[in-house]
Amino acid sequence: MTWVMLAVWTGLFAAFGAALAALARPRPEETGTLAAALDALLPQTQCGQCDYPGCRPYAEALAAGSAPPNRCVPGGSLTRNRLIEQLGICDAPERFPAPPVPAPTVARIDEMRCVACTLCLDACPVDAIVGARSWAHTVITEECTGCALCLPVCPVDCIVLEPAPPLHAWRIPEPLHADDLASVRAHGPH
């Protein structure tokens, strides 16, 4: 009798455990929404530094459980933490060290060397390059994500990456340094 009860209970626990595990796993119809939620957390640079061809494919791989949450290079630890939270991974920070975030950059086209081949126009995932055939191209700095996808397609290597300007103008400025007083000395009353 005892053995029967034990077997019944074990069976019940196993069944509940299996049911909970099945519920906890994202269901096929939910994967789409999970991927969309993860996609919304990514910085949308479409740079491919995660080894996936864009933010959405990486989000889909994350949702399918086939990618670690620390592959987003421009997102850094902020994006990693948000992905971990969305995926519900517990002991994550130790297991997934965040990649170092490189300083943000923007592309610049040397218009004197540009041959106006339009190859970079389609390569830019956010349409940040303007130009047409036989009209020199240029980068809209505000829209450029610095993903570097335009660099390899350029046949004359006239695109370079430069440090990006600060993202938003509202910023509490850094405190004053001694060098900044030069303008006081130049104009101040003495």
Partner: protein
């Protein structure tokens, strides 16, 4: 008999606040004779920053080398109701370049530098703009064109503030609570320019549709000159309500609660509960702009502290360096003296006395040897809750502190980081000497950066989707072409070569 009745009527208008302050600090009051009231001399160089505390930077409308006169507009801001910037004396524009100023922190910001000529010739004032006759837009335009901003330290454009008031306003609150010690500029205005206050109140109440007017007056200040001026102006309905001399009683939301018992909801503005709260100096400036057509070119700066023979309220031209203000007050200060722009709680320590005063500069204070000691070492939070009791805006600073340390942005938003007025009460009461306000300021910047990044990600997503759609449409278009027109590139090249050879042969033949 009539005089006694009148006096009774006047006395009846002076009341005491019925609602108790929440949080805040009872700071040691500054005693001594009332401050001296005088004008500062015009300094040789004026520095006027293109940025004000709030809003986008203004665009200069003068050229380097050009001559300007007092009251001449030298920079216009891009916003429709943002306040213009005027030359505060006559002279020559010598440069438009970064110059150290105190906005948020002390740092070089773009400034217009004017070398004064000493003549102080002024432009003719604008014609009066009577709110009873002019349209709402004309009054707001006048306030913006005359550079009227909140002179209580916020420097928010008064025209922009009043333009947001859509519905008729029930209550106009005039802020004369002046709660921070060592700031006595409103005290000077109440004693020496009560007529200006009365005129300003009159003009603004006509503009706002005759609301109830409450003057929140610090209880240690004398209400009689203002009451007399209000009587003379026929403003018998104005109520002067004395508020406790307690720190943060002068914060906008706190004062509204003290005077009316009403609470400004989180994320809302005083307009949303039908209130407009203006500092007493702002009321004077608005009155001058409307009735006398005078732009804002000077403000009262309260100068106090060690090494000064007396407390002075100095009417100073905007852009005057602090060194000139200290010299005008006979300050006996050495080069190593600490100078605070503002009061002991919210002021900024200046690294250099050449920093110019702006519309935000209420006071210059030289702390004595015992004042403002360097903060001791920071200890761990013991969750005593003293900061919660001290917070005048009902926040939980200790929770904010934990969430700021953990960079938990959602929790910071939930706990109302945006509501923090950075008054410093929690810093003062914290037994563990945690620099809470400094943390909150840094957290506000970090939060703003994260929010900007998120907004950019949403924007980029839209562009990426548009890019994909465009490429897909082009591909679909190419595939929809008849197969004959989709020629293999190699075949096309061969065909073109053949065509060319044929043409060349033709050319030779003819």
């Amino acid at each position: 008999m009539q005089t006694i009745l009148l006096r009774c009527a006047r006395m009846a208008r002076i009341e005491t606040a019925r609602y108790a302050p929440r949080g805040g600090l009872a700071l040691a009051p500054v005693t001594g004779p009332p401050p001296v009231w005088r004008a500062a001399p015009i300094p040789p160089l004026l520095a006027l920053p293109l940025e004000q505390q709030a809003g986008a930077p203004a665009i200069p409308c003068v050229a380097i080398g050009g001559h300007v006169r007092r009251g001449q507009c030298i920079a216009r801001p891009p916003g429709p109701w943002d306040a213009a910037i005027h030359a505060s004396s006559s002279g020559t524009v010598v440069a438009i370049e970064p110059y150290p100023v105190a906005l948020h922190t002390v740092a070089p910001r773009p400034c217009i530098l004017i070398r004064t000529d000493g003549a102080d010739s002024a432009l003719a004032p604008l014609p009066p703009c009577d709110p009873a006759r002019e349209s709402r837009e004309a009054v707001l335009r006048r306030l913006a064109d005359c550079g009227v901003v909140g002179l209580g330290g916020a420097v928010f454009s008064t025209a922009a503030k009043l333009a947001r008031a859509g519905a008729p306003i029930a209550t106009l609150i005039v802020n004369a609570a002046e709660c921070e010690p060592h700031i006595r500029c409103d005290e000077g205005l109440l004693a020496h320019a009560p007529e200006g206050i009365a005129q300003g109140i009159q003009a603004l109440s006509v503009f706002l549709g005759q609301p109830e007017v409450l003057v929140g007056l610090k209880e240690t200040l004398d209400p009689r000159p203002l009451a007399a001026a209000l009587d003379a102006a026929g403003l018998a309905a104005v109520r002067i309500i004395r508020v406790p001399a307690r720190y943060t009683a002068g914060a906008e939301d706190v004062l509204i609660r003290l005077l009316t018992g009403r609470e400004v909801p989180r994320g809302a503005l005083p307009m949303d509960i039908s209130c407009v709260c203006l500092n007493v100096a702002t009321v004077v400036a608005a009155g001058r702009a409307l009735l006398a057509g005078e732009p804002l070119t000077a403000r009262v700066v309260s100068v106090n502290g060690r090494g000064l023979p007396e407390s002075v309220n100095l009417i100073s031209r905007l852009g005057t360096p602090v060194s000139a203000i200290l010299a005008a007050c006979g300050a006996d200060t050495g080069p190593d003296e600490r100078v605070i722009l503002g009061g002991p709680m919210m002021g900024v320590e200046l690294p250099n006395a050449e920093i110019p005063i702006t519309k935000a500069s209420q006071a210059v204070w030289i702390p004595g040897p015992g004042d403002l000691p360097a903060p001791g070492p920071e200890h761990a939070c013991i969750r005593c809750g003293a900061c919660v009791t001290a917070c005048p805006v009902n926040l939980l600073p200790q929770q904010l502190h934990w969430h700021a340390r953990a960079a938990d942005h959602d929790a910071l938003i939930d706990h109302g980081l945006d509501v923090c007025i950075e008054c410093g009460c929690c810093d003062v009461v914290c037994p563990s000497q945690i620099p809470l306000v400094a943390r909150f300021r840094a957290a506000k910047v970090a939060l703003a950066e994260v929010q900007a990044l998120d907004a950019r990600a949403r924007w980029l997503k839209g562009r990426f989707v548009a890019h994909e759609t465009r490429l897909d449409a082009r591909k679909a278009h190419a595939e929809a072409q008849p197969a004959a027109r989709r020629e293999d590139p190699r075949a096309r090249l061969a065909r073109l070569r053949a065509h060319r050879t044929h043409k060349d042969a033709d050319g030779r033949g003819s």
